[in-house]
Amino acid sequence: MTTAEPLAPVRLLAKNLRVDLELIAGMIAPRTRVLDIGCGEGALIAHLFHTKACDARGIEIDMKLVTQAVAHGLPVMQGDADSDLAHYPDGAFDYVVLSRALQAVGRPREVLRQMLRIGARAVVSFPNFGHWRVRWQLLARGRMPMTSTWDRMWYETPNIHPCTIRDFFELCHREGYAVERWLAADDSGRRAPWRRAPWLANLFGEQAVFLLGVQR
């Protein structure tokens, strides 16, 4: 759990805090129970508490960020998405949020399963590895892409499970998750106009946000 200097996964919140928060918060109903996995210093849970009166809690792996969050009065515990979700009872939350960390967890499929076991819905955001710049760099240079989103060398990136928007649709289909809402957004977190067409979104979206439920 504690390597000497754990590399932070690509964080949605790092670029444009307000816009990105609102993309995710926009999918969450007021006065609900929310667990934010990889909550960082707790910006989303603070936002959900103050603007939507949610009972929002967080898990964060980086102890410095946890300390910051708790010191700001936010209910955050140090923990690991891969190992700590198993301890929650079924249906403990209305929403479980995984913001830009899916690509950094050890077992993404298992984490998704746990999220939809302990929560009625899951909100998942991730950086899109299918973006045209990523594709172009691999095609033209034959090397691992380096973009403003994917900005770490392959040997030191914590983002060990990158996926494309299309990959994610495919996984949801296979696991039987209902995609209740989804959207793709550009670099600064603004909603992109091509959100109606998944293949366009997969080419031009820098990041995606999905609201999942379990198919009945």
């Binding site: 009972d55 809690r57 102890m63 708790v70 010191a71 009065g73 140090q78 301890h87």
Partner: protein, 385 residues
């Protein structure tokens, strides 16, 4: 060692602020204490809604003098760094209460108290065995006496943390926020073992006189000091001992000289032992270490710690310290996981420090920021001004 300490001031001789419950208290052992005395101190003001009370639970050798000069030792309160005006536990905002534990020796009912059936005799080792839950029940009596229905927060480290957990499990509706620090939900075999070494040291001191040393006016100073020395080692970390003393020799000492204090760490421990003897009662030490050893919160709830916190609405904040090997982070994490199973609201922080278990009593800015922030957040949720 300090051989001069044979007669020490009787801690009970000081007039401690206290309340007497003439209806007594029935203990976990089944025995009823006919008369219950709870010695306590308060700091700050109870607000009109009686909603801003914080109970601070002390550790094995602590007492109710949290934030003021100690009447016996003259030293500052043991948590003055944390409790006081403008401090993380702000007495300008909160009403802070601390009680001497049942079985203690600073004014609450314990081995050093007079027997109920014969005021000329002390309880000594005849004092009935007490548990952490008995201590908490005694505190609950005090809280009710003070007219407080619900505590805003219960805070404590080490054995104090055990009391916090017991409060949350026994009186969930009376605890808005619980802060167990550097603690565990049960006393481990290793911890029981260390306590046993301390107890055996006391038993082995001829001045203990089978627990009736108070009759001769002597105290088992050597035994109690050795108990303290062993315990003190467990409160520190290897790094802290190395940083403070290393292998340094005392001035003028030689390893190959006469067999006496040679290393600085030795005289440090001996000082810890002899100064402890001046303020603590040996039979109380026996009673309280036993209470810690008995503690196993899961066992009291069908073997499942999550059951102890089932449907709890209390907000929890657990704090552990990275170099604490007496109550390691893994113990706090086990409590966090049980709380997760109970879907409780829980914050959890491990503070990076080399100061060992003692860190909870020392200047650890991250810990202090955490405590202040958590209380602020809870105050907002509790609607405190």
């Amino acid at each position: 060692m300090d051989d001069g300490v044979k007669q020490v001031p009787n801690p009970q001789a000081i007039a401690h602020q206290h309340v007497v419950f003439e209806d007594g208290l029935t203990l976990d052992s089944g025995v009823t204490l006919p008369r219950l005395v709870v010695a306590y101190r308060t700091y700050g003001r109870l607000d009109a809604a009686r909603g801003n009370a914080i109970l601070v639970c002390h550790a094995l050798t602590g007492d109710q003098y949290v934030a003021e000069q100690h009447p016996l030792t003259g030293k500052p309160g043991w948590w003055e760094m944390l409790v006081g005006p403008g401090k993380p536990v702000d007495t300008e905002r909160y009403f802070v209460i601390s009680a001497n534990v049942l079985g203690g020796c600073m004014g609450s009912s314990g081995p050093r108290s007079p027997r109920d059936d014969d005021e000329t005799q002390l309880w000594g080792t005849d004092f009935p065995a007490v548990t952490i839950r008995d201590m908490v029940r005694a505190q609950a009596r005090l809280i009710t006496h003070l007219g407080i229905a619900r505590l805003f927060a219960v805070i404590g480290g080490s054995m104090g943390g055990m009391q916090v957990l017991e409060w949350a499990a026994t009186y969930p509706e009376r605890v808005f926020a619980a802060i167990p620090i550097a603690t565990a939900a049960y006393h481990s075999a290793q911890n029981i073992a260390f306590n046993e070494v301390g107890r055996q040291a006391i038993f082995a001191d001829p001045d203990w006189e089978g627990g009736r040393y108070w009759q001769s006016g002597r105290v088992p100073a050597r035994g109690l000091a050795v108990a303290r020395m062993v315990a003190h080692i467990t409160y520190l970390s290897e790094q802290a001992l190395t940083r403070k003393f290393g292998r340094r020799l005392r001035a003028g000492a030689s390893v190959l000289g006469p067999y006496s204090d040679v290393f600085e760490v030795e005289s440090y421990l001996q000082h810890q032992g002899s100064s402890f003897v001046r303020r603590f009662d040996a039979n109380a030490y026996l009673a309280i270490t036993r209470a810690m050893d008995y503690f196993d919160l899961a066992a009291d709830h069908g073997g499942d710690l999550a059951q102890a916190f089932a449907a709890t609405k209390t907000r929890f904040c657990l704090v552990s310290f990275s170099s604490d090997w007496l109550f390691p982070t893994s113990e706090s994490r086990a409590i966090v996981r049980a709380l997760n199973r109970a879907a409780a609201n829980v914050s959890f922080v491990e503070i990076e420090t080399d100061k060992g278990h003692d860190a909870f009593l020392l200047d650890e800015p991250d810990f202090h920021r955490t405590l202040r922030g958590f209380l602020d957040g809870c105050a907002q949720h509790a609607g405190l001004s």
